[in-house]
């Protein structure tokens, strides 16, 4: 039997596909278990987006339009690592979020809150050689959604990561520490209790920029390689 290149997640790390409190899941979750596939070249390779040339403003969501967006300016930074603690150098990090009032720059979002002409809420950055990344953005607002009566999403930023392989692809959400809405959010709470806090950024006083912006730190951990078997 050939050994898999990438470790398989232990139980209790990811949400169950069927998480009934999140009411979109019953019709959008497979009824049959996924078939475990030995990792071939098709799974241990994956896109790096290496040929994408990023503009200087793609990581500063406050300077993408003609004026400054409204809201609380923040630094969001951290590292892209694997389970072995090794950085994922040059990892592409993609984010999207709503504005300070809790509305996405998207025609499908009809929440009764103002759009900000100076904020579209999308950013990309390539991590450095140590897996470090940094965005400048606006703290997103909470917003209501129709999952249940008086449902509100806690403030969050969506993150998309590729990592080194098809097997390591991850889309997740970053939340803010100790947000009281977390306790009521079925998407956050779809994650097993022992793993949820990993989705909360930490307030980072050291990185705060005096007279300018507060800072939050959010590390993302992707699947790591198995140890190479001894020949």
């Amino acid at each position: 039997m050939t050994q898999d290149t990438y470790q398989r997640p232990a139980p209790g790390q990811h949400p169950a596909n069927l998480s009934p409190e999140y009411k979109s899941t019953p019709l959008r979750s497979p009824g049959k278990p996924a078939i475990v596939l030995p990792q071939s070249l098709s799974e241990i390779t994956g896109p790096s987006l290496a040929t994408d040339h990023l503009g200087a403003l793609e990581s500063d969501l406050t300077r993408q339009r003609s004026g400054e967006p409204l809201g609380e300016r923040i630094v969001v930074h951290g590292r892209i690592l694997d389970e072995n603690g090794k950085p994922v150098p040059q990892a592409m990090v993609e984010i999207w979020q709503c504005n300070a009032a809790g509305r996405y720059h998207h025609p499908g979002d009809q929440h009764d809150a103002p759009l900000d002409p100076n904020f579209t809420g999308g950013g990309r950055v390539r991590a450095d050689g140590e897996g470090k990344y940094e965005f400048i953005t606006i703290k997103p607002g909470a917003y209501p959604w129709k999952n249940h009566h008086n449902a509100w999403r806690p403030a969050h930023i969506h993150f998309s990561l590729f990592g080194p392989a098809f097997a390591t692809r991850l889309i997740t959400q970053m939340y803010f520490p100790d947000d009281p809405l977390l306790a009521y959010d079925p998407i956050y709470n779809s994650v097993p209790a022992g793993a949820r806090k990993r989705l909360q950024a930490s307030f980072d006083m050291e990185t705060t920029r005096p007279e300018w912006a507060l800072a939050y730190k959010f590390d993302v951990v992707l699947r790591g390689r198995n140890a190479t078997p001894m020949e």
């Binding site: 596909n17 070249l41 603690g85 989705l199």
Partner: protein, 187 residues
């Protein structure tokens, strides 16, 4: 574990401001070698309703069967203009359209070759973990010996096999659940 995994979350409905501005539906510029194919992937929920807010991603080898990735060290031609990555959201009809090249065959770790295939990732509101599946090509004589298809019970294999329509377009419907549920893989 000193570095526990970051849990997955749904892509939600409002991703396109970032991801679709950078999408790649046309994956094969003119200088790339191989047979051009048009591919239409469609997405359905567990009751057969189309999913107009999903996102498909493609990962595939080039026409020579080489992945554009440092872990593919085989001595096969690398088309510099072909990354092998595609991304497109579903439209109002629940469809994503791609132009690419038909991939070459790639090896299987235990020996032998896989039939030509394309890896697919599926994301949508209500989908908490990336769904991974594969696309194969109807009529390919190598299907009978493909080691992945052999892991799938025969009655469900057709959910992985794209068919060519009268206009020559390869089509594969993906059903997240229900009677025609697609086979998904834990990669």
């Amino acid at each position: 574990m000193s570095h526990p995994l970051t849990p997955s979350q749904t892509i939600g409905p409002f991703y396109w401001g970032t991801l679709v501005n950078t999408y790649r539906a046309d994956m094969a510029p003119p200088d790339v070698a191989g047979e051009r194919i048009e591919l239409v992937l469609s997405l359905f929920d567990g009751q057969g309703a189309l999913v107009p807010d999903g996102l498909f991603e493609i990962w595939q080898a080039n026409s020579h069967g080489r992945y554009n990735h440092p872990d593919d060290r085989r001595n096969l031609p690398l088309d510099t203009g072909f990354e092998g990555f595609g991304r497109a959201s579903t439209d109002a009809k629940g469809e994503s359209h791609f132009t690419t090249v038909r991939p070459g065959r790639v090896p299987w770790p235990a020996g032998g070759m896989q039939a030509a295939n394309i890896n697919l990732s599926i994301f949508a509101r209500g989908v908490l973990n990336r769904l991974a599946t594969r696309l194969y090509f109807d009529g390919d004589p190598a299907l009978a010996e493909d080691p992945v298809l052999k892991l799938v019970e025969p009655a469900r294999r057709a959910t992985l096999i794209a068919k060519r329509d009268a206009a020559g377009v390869w089509r594969l419907p993906i059903h997240i659940g229900g009677a025609h549920e697609t086979v998904f893989f834990d990669v």
